[in-house]
């Protein structure tokens, strides 16, 4: 019966094809591979061969990539120093908040870092904050791109409340982000020799040229009742205040690092670096940690093993799948034409009985 059906439908096509030319104006649908849904197509079917090949190929590509990434990450030298606790004098250790808020206390603090491995320049200096929600909706929105962009937009402070306007006029730069500018500072010394910290070119070029205007100068900044974070030099245009620019590029997650500067000198192993920190920034009220990070980079960026591990794991998993599929096929080869595994057959729920 199958044969008859196929033959008759085939015949119909042939017959109708020939009549197309003779009959004009007929309502006969025009033939095209498109309208007849016969476009040439590739029909991928998950055959055992294809499945196993795919798994193996993924495995073969992923594991080396993962290993290379791990190796690259391994090459990065990273020194992390948490100083938020250590930099509070012992007598304030029960009331860190009072210490940080007081204008009278001495905020400077000296830390010593050990260089375990040689570090090639440039060495990037980061500060890392923890539990700091720079991605909070209220915080993220609290800025005025127009104001930052050019002098003309100085009074565009609609989005910046409550740090939009001071008694003397609009605040430049306005908003919570700028207001809460990070203001700890670090000074590095090796064997009493000052290590120069280059704070130029730590921000994105487009930020400097397109987002922050060169004719916009800080105005009325941190002049209100509540002082948030750092001060700005009002004689330098915003486009050159790179620490502000970096800060205003908000972080995505509550734990984040931001670039503080670069040391453009190689550091030797077993060297000791003395860091003088001005511990000004209040993370104590929300229990956030502060860390100082020195790190080199490679092609993959900073130190992070996750990507390498992910690649190796996924690659390994694929190889595992490939092997288990091969085993399954070897152990349980399925004779062609055995329909007893048709899944719907097991559940003839639609049958009315």
């Amino acid at each position: 019966m199958n044969a008859i059906g196929a033959a008759s439908s085939g015949g119909a096509t042939a017959a109708s094809d020939s009549s197309t030319t003779t009959k004009k104006n007929s309502k006969k649908p025009k033939y095209s591979r498109f309208t007849q849904q016969e476009l040439p197509a590739c029909k991928p079917i998950l055959t055992p061969g294809l499945v196993i090949t795919t798994f193996i190929v993924i495995g073969i590509i992923f594991i080396p990539v993962g290993l290379v990434s791990l190796f690259a990450s391994e090459k990065v030298v990273e020194i992390v120093d948490r100083y938020d606790d250590g930099c509070v004098p012992r007598n304030y250790s029960n009331n860190k908040l009072a210490y940080i808020r007081s204008k009278l206390t001495d905020k400077s603090c000296t830390r010593t870092l050990n260089i375990v491995k040689p570090m090639k320049s440039p060495i990037y200096i980061y500060y890392q904050l923890d539990n700091f929600y720079q991605n909070h909706r209220r915080y993220v929105k609290s800025r005025s791109d127009k104001q930052l962009r050019s002098k003309k937009g100085e009074s565009e402070t609609k989005l910046c409340d409550p740090e939009g306007v001071s008694a003397n006029g609009p605040i430049v730069p306005c908003g919570l982000i700028a207001w809460s500018l990070f203001n700890d500072t670090y000074k590095f010394k090796v064997k009493n020799k000052v290590l120069e910290v280059n704070k130029k070119n730590i921000a994105w070029k487009s930020d400097k040229s397109k987002k922050f205007g060169s004719d916009v100068y800080p105005k009325n900044f941190q002049s209100g009742g509540l002082i948030g974070g750092g001060q700005l030099n009002s004689s330098i245009p915003l486009s050159e205040q790179e620490n502000l620019i970096v800060w205003m590029r908000t972080a995505a997650l509550p734990t984040f690092r931001k670039l503080y500067g670069k040391i453009e000198e190689d550091l030797q192993a077993n060297q000791q670096i003395t860091v003088v920190i001005q511990n000004n920034y209040n993370t104590y009220s929300f229990g956030g940690k502060k860390k100082l990070v020195l790190s080199t980079t490679t092609w993959i960026g900073g130190k992070n093993d996750f990507l390498g591990i992910a690649y190796v794991t996924v690659g390994g998993l694929c190889l595992f799948f490939a092997i288990s599929f091969i085993l399954l096929y070897v152990v349980k080869p399925r004779p062609l034409g055995d329909p007893s595994y048709l899944s719907w057959n097991r559940n003839p729920a639609g049958h009315l009985n």
């Binding site: 019966m1 059906g5 196929a6 008759s8 439908s9 109708s16 309502k27 006969k28 649908p29 025009k30 476009l39 197509a41 590739c42 029909k43 998950l46 055959t47 499945v51 992923f62 440039p122 700091f132 929600y133 991605n135 909070h136 209220r138 791109d145 409550p162 919570l176 730590i202 994105w204 070029k205 397109k210 590029r249 972080a251 995505a252 509550p254 670039l259 009220s285 929300f286 790190s295 980079t297 993959i300 960026g301 900073g302 992070n304 996750f306 990507l307 690649y311 998993l317 599929f325 096929y329 062609l336 329909p339 048709l342 899944s343 719907w344 729920a349 639609g350 049958h351 009315l352 009985n353």
Partner: protein, 1184 residues
Amino acid sequence: MAQEGKGRVLLSKLYSFACFRCTAGEEHARIGQKGYSRVVYCNDPDNPEAIRLKYRGNYVSTTKYTLANFIPKSLFEQFRRVANIYFLVVAFVSFSPLAPYSAPSVLLPLIIVIGATMAKEGVEDWRRRKQDIEANNREVQVYDRNHSFRESKWKNLRVGDLVKVQKNEYFPADMLLLSSSYEDGVCYVDTMNLDGETNLKLKHALEVTAPLKDEESFKKFRAEIKCEDPNEHLYSFVGTLYLDGNQYSLCLQRILLRDSKLKNTDYIYGVVIFTGHDTKVMQNATDPPSKRTKIERRMDKIIYVLFSTLITISFTGSLFFGIQTKRDISGQKYRRWYLRPDDATVFFDPRRAALAAFFHFLTGLMLYGYLIPISLYVSIEIVKVLQSIFINQDQEMYYEETDKPAHARTSNLNEELGQVAAILSDKTGTLTCNSMEFVKCSIAGTAYGLGMTEVEIALAKRRGKLPLVIDGSSCDVPTPSDDAIGAGKTIKGFNFRDERIMNGRWVHEPHSDVIQKFFRVLALCHTVIPNKDSKSKEVSYESESPDEAAFVTAAKELGFDFVRRTQTSIEIHEFDCTTHKRVARVYELLHVLEFNSSRKRMSVIVRNPENQLLLLSKGADSVMFERLSEHGREFEAHTKEQISCYSEAGLRTLVIAYRELGEDEYEKWEKEFLEAKNFVGADRDAMMQAAAENIERNLVLLGATAVEDKLQKGVPECINKLAGARIKIWILTGDKMETAINIGYACSLLREKMKKIIITLDLPEIVALEKQGDKQAIAKASLESVREQIKEGKHHIRKEIAVEFGLIIDGKSLTFALDKSVKKSFLKLAMNCASVICCRSSPKQKALVTRLVKVEADKTTLAIGDGANDVGMLQEADIGVGISGVEGMQAVMASDFAIAQFRFLERLLLVHGHWCYRRIAMMICYFFYKNITFGFTLFWFEAYASFSGQPAYNDWYMSCYNVFFTSLPVIALGIFDQDVSARLCLECPLLYQEGVHNVLFKWVRILGWMFNGVLSSIIIFFFTTRSLASQAFRKDGKVADYSVLGVTMYSCVVWAVNCQMALSINYFTWIQHLFIWGSIIFWYIFLVVYGFLPSTISTTAHKVLVEACAPSILYWLVTLVVVISATLPYFSCRAFQTRFLPMIHDYIQRLHLDGSEHEVNRELLKLVGSKLDRLLTRSRQRKS
């Protein structure tokens, strides 16, 4: 034409019975009351009363919208959908500070989506409008104040206008027929557009108005019509004409309805009664019941599931947000001082944390709104429209002969075509061609006609014989010789082959005189009107029933050529045995005693050229045999035998007889008859029938005719295929049980190995009861008997598990089987039978059975039919398929799909249905997958942003997600995907069961896809955040901030979602490649272009790809690992499932792949089929 062709025929003379008489019934008494209050002043436009009445004009508009109300009304239609309302509310709220994103980014996709739907509506309505304009501007001749007929447009027509309509023109409004080109004011009307019947209907003017023939005579014509108000009843009209102080009652026979066509009549005059929307046809044009598919209904449920998910996660979010916010101030201490909790707006105020949490809940609803795919409805609609274009364009569903392609009249039922569990089919015109063919006859006890009917072929096959070799033992049919079959051209209505009597050889037959008389009766006893084509000189016949035309054609082919009918005579050209020439013989036509359903016969009384008076009669065997005279029964036994043979072969039979009348007898009878005819009163009809009865007796039997209603081409194969797909097929027919069973065999609905279960009330005890006439007792006994028979049938089925069953039930039993107490068990029985035939069923029963299957069995039903009597069934069923064949448009108008031939159903269901089902199911699953993937990444991000409602992505990325980056591939999936090719769909009809069992849209599968979405979102979010974490992400020491993370995550989502699509597609044409990879590429293009806009517009996206991400190797590596990991679960599951738990399509795909290499697939498929059979039976066994 009429004058030259057939002279002036007073057709009223042909019809002696009640056809034209309007009896003043009860309803006429109600004229003037409520519902019967219309007053029409004919030809009196200046009458103040007429002006006061202000009836509607003849302007017609079938559009859904007007120019003025299009915007509000179509918007209203759009926002009746829950999801759209949600998005509208979101759009409004997005202007408030509650919104997590900017208002335009929400509005734009909504506008695009709504706009696309509205545009679709608009285009559809525009098409309707064009039709309206065409109709409104048609020309018609209207009698004007200058007393002449002038061309005017239809739309300018007023109630009361006098109108002249020419031959082959449509009537512009419902009109009263005043007069026609015929003297007695009759006209022929073709009502195909109204009820789909192609035969011509006779309309008849009142005798008083019939003489009004020219412009002069209308000058003084003034009349008043009082009639019913506009209503939708096509078959009734109640009214009274007041003319010159007299009253004339009007009925439907006087009324010409709009959209019917004047035929065979040169012109008519009429007066307009109903115009425009008041006309019956417009009143009938109610919207067909809107049908929704199962998938759509389930989709609504999924949307509710998503809404609850949305509410749950928003609630969770706002709970955490509330807690976090409240903790920001404790006494004088500000925890997160950088948020200025001391000076916060109400949305973030820690002192009113509960309120802030509530507002945040609203924000959450908007933010996670991406769980609900805004473009789902519009995409589905687009897809369905395109799918139906494919159906319309399918060449293999195009029927050459009538030049009709398949036509999907509604696009929203496409996928339901793939889920049909039961087909309910009409017989005549659906399975058969509804064109009668004269195939056999029995004359003087000898059977003539060698053609095999399809039923006979099937019968022969059933008896295990080759179709063409039958011995004559059962029915006395000699084996046909080849030349007899091959010779001769095909003539419509004639399929008779017998060398013995064709080409004039009948003169050599033993009973040649009887043969001559027989064909004379066929040539004379009818009401057919010959229509001579002025060019080709060919005579065509216009008849009320196709049977009659077949008889006249047969007579003509055998040498008794009916050429002309006049008022009083019939002329036939026939072969003279003595002179061997064709001579014209004119018979004087004295009376026609026409056919009606109670008489079941018709007769004519003629005077032949030899001046003999003859009564020629034809009729059903049941009434004819009892009217034979003693000496007229010579051939009775043989004829009866042959008649039963014929009806077994599925043919319609009529008995032919005649009688010679004596002059005296005739005169006496005529007097009596005319008396009855002229009698005025209620008994007139009865009197006339009695009179007719008096003369129609003592007949001499000549023979019997057998007419075949041929099965359409390919019907048995198609039914076989559909049965192979395990679709239950029910035939609902008006035929007798024997005929129905034989047709059942012929179209292979009943097969030899099947067991028949017959439920009938034709039992001795019931018949005995009927004779007693106690209706209650009959009903009770019948019900009991039906119940008993059903029980018995079920018992049979339970006992014999391996056998297929066919159920046959007659109309009377069906009435009882549909009784509340029995119907469930009847249905159970019926559903366990492979095929069901309901004989003698009325249109209402058809609809009731359909509803029973649809509602009680909860199966998707498809009804297929071609006539007006199937409309109820078509509208009741989940899908109505109309056959756009001979019977015209009524069924097609009520249908959802129209095809030209029954056999196209196979392709419509097995190929298009299966594909559409699969596509839509996949498409919806995928839609939810992609939106859940996207929506949940937002949620995970929230968890890391203290649930403040900050979206992870730039506003515009988000709003483009549904519209630009993911919509086209899914639409392509919905339009083009095919799991297996059309050929394989047809070869392996079992595949269709996937739809019937709804395998692809089970909750498990839907939830599986949703889970897959959640899994993907987890993989995407955590892999990206962990990889980019806090360290530098490129060599220059820069760290990944909010904008970089957003772009990376979003890239991963776009990649993952599109690759997932690539994995789930079965059919990759260049279109799929273009859309899938194009969407991904478009995302990058978008990012570059958007990034180059000034920073105030592009905000976080400013140069983010070019400057930050693209140069970073990490970014690309993350994308790769995330995409592979996110698609890996699906890929592994599929790989496992295709191999170890294959679905039918997997199985077929694999077989096909292997088969093309080893060339064994067809064999294998058969093997699979039979194995599946066994498995199914076993599962049935287990269940019962």
